[in-house]
């Protein structure tokens, strides 16, 4: 008796809501479209639409003399990317992005491995927070803080002096392409800041891929006679490649598009991001800025296809 009472009461109270949920259950297509239409509208109209409009403007003509843009279509802007001055910018940015990605992966892997294999419960939570904590502070604040850390007489120099490593640092700074007058005006300094800022984006995907690795695979490898080094090279590393690839897509593309760190730390000379900013802001050459925007998109597409060709996503 009491059972039937309990069963009917909620139905009476939530009649309309229940009707709606039953309708959605019977018509999964309606349910799906209700869920997907808002994000698809956002993605399609606002994101892709504006991106395509921007790229389209890369075909417009900029008149150097009158400083005006006319909508007559031309390949000139894209061709101009390959002039020595512009190509230099692209080359500089890509080299830095590659170096930052490699260093981040090398630094992130041991941390991610430790997190995935040796921590649990509170220790794991601590590591998650420790990895993400720097992302809670404003990016600009961190970039400025690094200019002070790396400056002459700054904290980094103080450490180097007290460790007696000054000759080594000077040797490093005298290497052409890497060095400069001080850490904060060298490519080395810029590289350090980039690695610091993007490291969490590399740690978390690698950690996730290692977390998915069943412990029995490692045991099976050892059981079949593999030394720990062989287990690492044959099993752990190949199966974590999707994580490394995902992380490197972050570090690579974030470095390609950044214009704040290069303007604060390191030697003079534009990065792609800075060039886009300068073209559309100070100069007003929107078509050239749009052409430059295409460069990271193409580079990432090329990078992804190489990574895919190498089989990075086979284990997904």
């Amino acid at each position: 008796m009491s059972l039937t009472l309990d069963a009917t009461a909620p139905e009476a109270r939530h009649g309309a809501l229940r009707g709606l949920s039953n309708l959605l259950y019977r018509k999964p297509t309606l349910y799906l479209s209700l869920l997907l239409v808002p994000p698809l509208l956002w993605f399609g109209a606002i994101y892709l639409g504006s991106l395509l409009t921007l790229l389209w403007q890369g075909f417009y003509t900029f008149d150097d003399f009158t400083m005006t843009v006319t909508p007559s279509l031309t390949w000139a802007n894209f061709a101009a990317l390959f002039t020595p001055a512009n190509f230099d910018i692209i080359q500089r940015t890509v080299l830095m992005a590659v170096a930052v990605s490699i260093a981040s992966a090398a630094l992130a892997f041991p941390i991610a491995y430790y997190m995935a294999r040796y921590t649990s419960g509170k220790t794991k939570a601590f590591f998650y927070i420790a990895v993400m904590l720097p992302m809670w502070a404003s990016y600009i604040v961190k970039a400025y803080a690094w200019t002070l850390l790396l400056a002459k007489g700054g904290v980094a120099m103080w450490f180097v002096q007290h460790l007696g490593l000054e000759p080594l640092l000077n040797l490093l700074l005298s290497v052409p392409g890497v060095g400069g007058n001080t850490l904060s005006t060298s490519n080395l300094g810029r590289f350090l800041v980039f690695v610091y800022i993007w490291l969490p984006f590399m740690i978390l995907p690698i950690q996730a891929s290692l977390e998915r690795l069943p412990p029995s695979l490692l045991q099976a490898s050892a059981d079949l006679g593999a030394q720990p080094r062989q287990t690492f090279m044959q099993v752990i590393l190949p199966l974590s490649v999707p994580g490394i690839a995902a992380g490197s897509i972050f570090t690579f593309s974030l470095t390609l598009g950044d214009f704040i760190v290069p303007s604060l730390v390191g030697p003079p000379g534009y990065f792609i991001g800075g060039m886009v900013y300068a073209q559309q802001g100070a100069i007003g050459n929107m078509p050239m800025a749009a052409a430059f925007t295409l460069v990271p998109i193409v580079l990432i597409a090329v990078y992804l296809s190489i990574v895919k060709r190498l089989g990075a996503f086979d284990a997904l």
Binding site: Q219, A220, S221, A222, D223, L224, G225, Q234, L239
Partner: protein, 341 residues
């Protein structure tokens, strides 16, 4: 010749929990040896101690006479078939099977040839180029077997390898494992919680309970002469009669085991060595090959009686729940038990 695997007073503790508690076993070379027990009884930990995934807290483990405690898995001449198969998802079947040879530095041509032979041995010749995800559960199981056997181990460890397969496939694989073991002549150590599997395949079975071994014996002896109440009830089903009833029937206060199929309904003349008890029939379960009758005895104990359903119908089909019945069995069919661990 030393035993293939010898445990001497081996213990393994995880914090407060004694997963394995002073276990001693000798497993002979070329034997099909099963470790049987409920989950958490320590059987899998024993297997992992042999493989080297765990190290003993105390005691000595010898594999073919060599002390194994302290040796990592990759320095032991044993191979394991894992419960979840643990195939490498990024390698095809042939590379999976050839893995053990590859890490030991066997030349490519030879290792691929031997891997192909191992695949043929488990009836998977020609499947080498597939990825593990493209195989069925039974096929993955065979690949795992081939991957272990290709290394020609002297001891093969099998950790509930048939657990994930359906009944028909499991029975088929049981036969194939037994055939492979005879053909190769290597020691198989098989962990399972399925007593019928252990009985049908093994030369000898160790029954585990709470980290200790209750009995090590041939399947026939385990069933016919269980040493403890635990073995009697875990291996097959059994009635364990205790206390007053036992002393009343046989004049001995020890617990006794009597198998349900050794009990029948009292009909005709009672033999000289027969014992009889009466009670209320309260449940009848039809099980296909046999019918099981549950009887509540007058002193409150339960008794199960099993009768084969032969087409000549010697069983009285007229039995109904609620009826008073008398059960009878031969005194010799009763086995005296010790209390065990």
């Amino acid at each position: 010749m030393p035993p293939a695997v010898q445990f001497t007073q081996v213990s393994r503790q995880f914090g407060e929990v004694k997963a394995v508690d002073q276990v001693s076993i000798d497993i002979q070379d070329g034997e099909f040896f099963s470790m049987l027990g409920p989950s958490g009884s320590g059987k899998t930990t024993c297997l992992r101690l042999i493989a080297g995934f765990e190290q003993p807290s105390a005691g000595s483990i010898r594999i073919h006479g060599l002390e194994a405690a302290g040796l990592p898995p990759y320095q032991r001449d044993v191979n394991t078939v894992f419960q979840d198969y643990a195939l490498f998802p990024h390698m095809n079947v042939l590379d999976n099977v050839a893995y053990g040879l590859k890490v030991k530095g066997v030349a490519r041509a030879e290792r691929l040839q031997r891997a192909e032979q191992a695949l043929e041995m488990v009836a998977l010749g020609g499947y080498g180029s597939r990825k593990p995800v493209q195989l069925s559960g039974g096929q993955r199981q065979r690949v795992a077997l081939a991957r272990a056997l290709v290394n020609r181990p002297r001891v093969l460890l099998l950790d509930e390898p048939l657990g994930a397969l359906d009944l028909k496939l499991r029975e088929q694989m049981q036969g194939e494992l037994k055939r492979l073991q005879r053909q190769l002549g290597i020691t198989f150590i098989f962990v399972t919680h399925d007593q019928s599997e252990a009985l049908s395949m093994s030369d000898r079975v160790a029954v585990f309970n709470k980290g200790r071994i209750e009995q090590v014996d041939t399947p026939r002896n385990l069933y016919m002469k269980p040493a403890t109440a635990f073995v009697a009830e875990f291996v097959g089903t059994s009635n364990v009669l205790r206390g007053e009833l036992a002393s009343q029937l046989v004049g001995d206060a020890r617990p006794f085991s009597i198998r349900p199929e050794h009990i029948r309904f009292a009909l005709g003349e009672r033999g000289a060595s027969d014992v009889e008890v009466s009670g209320l029939l309260h449940d009848i379960q039809y099980q296909g090959a046999a019918t099981r009758y549950e009887i509540r005895l007058d002193n409150g104990q339960h008794l199960s009686l099993s009768q084969a359903n032969s087409q000549w119908g010697d069983g009285p089909a007229s039995h109904q729940p609620g009826q008073r019945v008398t059960a009878r069995w031969a005194r010799e069919a009763m086995v005296a038990l010790s209390e065990g661990v």
